[in-house]
Symmetry: C2
Amino acid sequence: MCDFLSAEARRLAPYTPGEQPRDQQYVKLNTNESPFPPSRRVLKALSRAELLKLNLYSDPACTQLNAAIAARYGLQSGNVISGNGSDEILAFAFRAFCGRGRPVAYADVTYSFYQSQAALFGLEARVIPLREDFTLSVDDYMDFPGTIVIANPNAPTGVAVPRTDIQRLLEADPKRVVIVDEAYVDFGGESCVPMIFCYENLLVTQTMSKSRQLAGGRVGFALGSESLIEALNRVKYSFNPYNVNRLSLIAGTAAMEDEGYFRNCCETIQENRAWLTEELEGLGFAVLPSSANFVFAKCGRLPGGELYRRLKESGILVRWFDKERIRDYVRITVGSMEQLAALTDELTRMLEDL
Amino acid sequence: MCDFLSAEARRLAPYTPGEQPRDQQYVKLNTNESPFPPSRRVLKALSRAELLKLNLYSDPACTQLNAAIAARYGLQSGNVISGNGSDEILAFAFRAFCGRGRPVAYADVTYSFYQSQAALFGLEARVIPLREDFTLSVDDYMDFPGTIVIANPNAPTGVAVPRTDIQRLLEADPKRVVIVDEAYVDFGGESCVPMIFCYENLLVTQTMSKSRQLAGGRVGFALGSESLIEALNRVKYSFNPYNVNRLSLIAGTAAMEDEGYFRNCCETIQENRAWLTEELEGLGFAVLPSSANFVFAKCGRLPGGELYRRLKESGILVRWFDKERIRDYVRITVGSMEQLAALTDELTRMLEDL
């Protein structure tokens, strides 16, 4: 390892993003992107006139974008902060609400980026196992004396926590921040956003990468009480004041304002998910109940790693995690019907040949 | 202050960006943006076809952008990391190369963001005064047992350090990282990039916000030995793997490939700077020798804050820092001739009326 590295940087646990291969056309079902293009409003808003202004800085306060988000969720702009993807927002939250004497807790099977960020800020982390069936028991977190992070629905399992369970956590200790990562909530989870008015200790993060077809635009945001948002802004202005670029501000605003397209896309994904789940079960897979735009499925006849490799050889990318408890599973993004049919055809062939 | 804040977040020193007013049309000479639009190649590259792919994640490795930057500077892609503006890259460097037992040193009058980032990572910082004339003496840094950050040319003064001085620092201790922030180097400074082959401990950061007319695109990068770049990637993948969005990757690549436009813009800024300096001196201002796209000037007849306020009332924004040693100065971006003529006309009127 490089001699110049600080002790803190040696302890890092860098995240491994899903493959973004550039050498071949794959049926890409590995990074939970939307199979649909961005809203036409986004295309229209990214006009020549706006491109010509790229020489000028973006608005560090993200005024219009935050206003559009606030309006959509019935909140005020002071309840919103936007970022360069929700990963950045989560990092701000880890710095703002965790530190010495304030550890962080998250599940053993969840978005592995939490571990990277805990290492980035040198946090003490308590990793709390999910139940055998991958559901989360909030009782396991009740007495935890620090900040709690829950992905809801969870990744990579797709399993959701009932909102009332999170409410119990919020009420158990009003001085403890609960961060609910709702990256996938628009596909069938119960959002905690309506509870923001009641609980000052609730922070909800969301992203435009999944349900609003802007993964390439990198727009994430958090919603919470004014005091939590103010705290996040302290970190933002210490890290990168102009954190959202001009075109992403514009694209994010337009995407947030196109409610019709958003709903259509989410509904189609849910229909496709039902179809995919049924097909996989027909092929003998065990599929966890998903509230997200992906399913987490176990073949039974092939180990997860083997399934992943065979599919990749056939030009289909899914995500496999070489990790305890979930090694037998693959995570499959709910793509377009065309993509999903290519997958199930290939799986049918593959399993017949076994 | 918010009860939920971690101790670490309480100690932050958030940066105050220059005003980005939205209420009125100003002659905006306060944030060192380019007065020229982005390259035509950028406009062409940001095609409809690319906008339609915004539903897909950007390339986390920034392959094409890094290749374009490497090609421009005669380096390999392994010598390059790109970021969401050079502010983000600087934050990565502060985390990678500073920490417990490895303090950071920078000048008393320099880019104030260094202080914000030192606070963000809880670093011990040694602030080393510039000489009376705002030049930097590298001898003051020779024995410093940590990482050194030098803005060259410096902001907000515009004063440059000779490359050979930085070479002396690099050679004095090959185990110590020297970060040279070359945000403004293309307007007349001596770049340290040609020394990267010789000094493994040299990291150079640059931005496309000034000389490549992409402030709104947020594209910065660092150049250095492979081991330094690898260290920065460790931090990046712990913080935000998809840190540069699709459109900025495309815009940055196209801007980097348009050498002709880049040179024309830089030359025009240097001509305009010579004109502005002469005009200001004619009006009795003391102007520091600038190698940047701004000048740092002292009126003598009006305190800096008063000058800033009067200009703002007249619709002209410059930047004033209410800070020891530089309170009498204002920093003026070298804009277009039209903008600069508006400024000098207004200053002439203002000083006649005194």
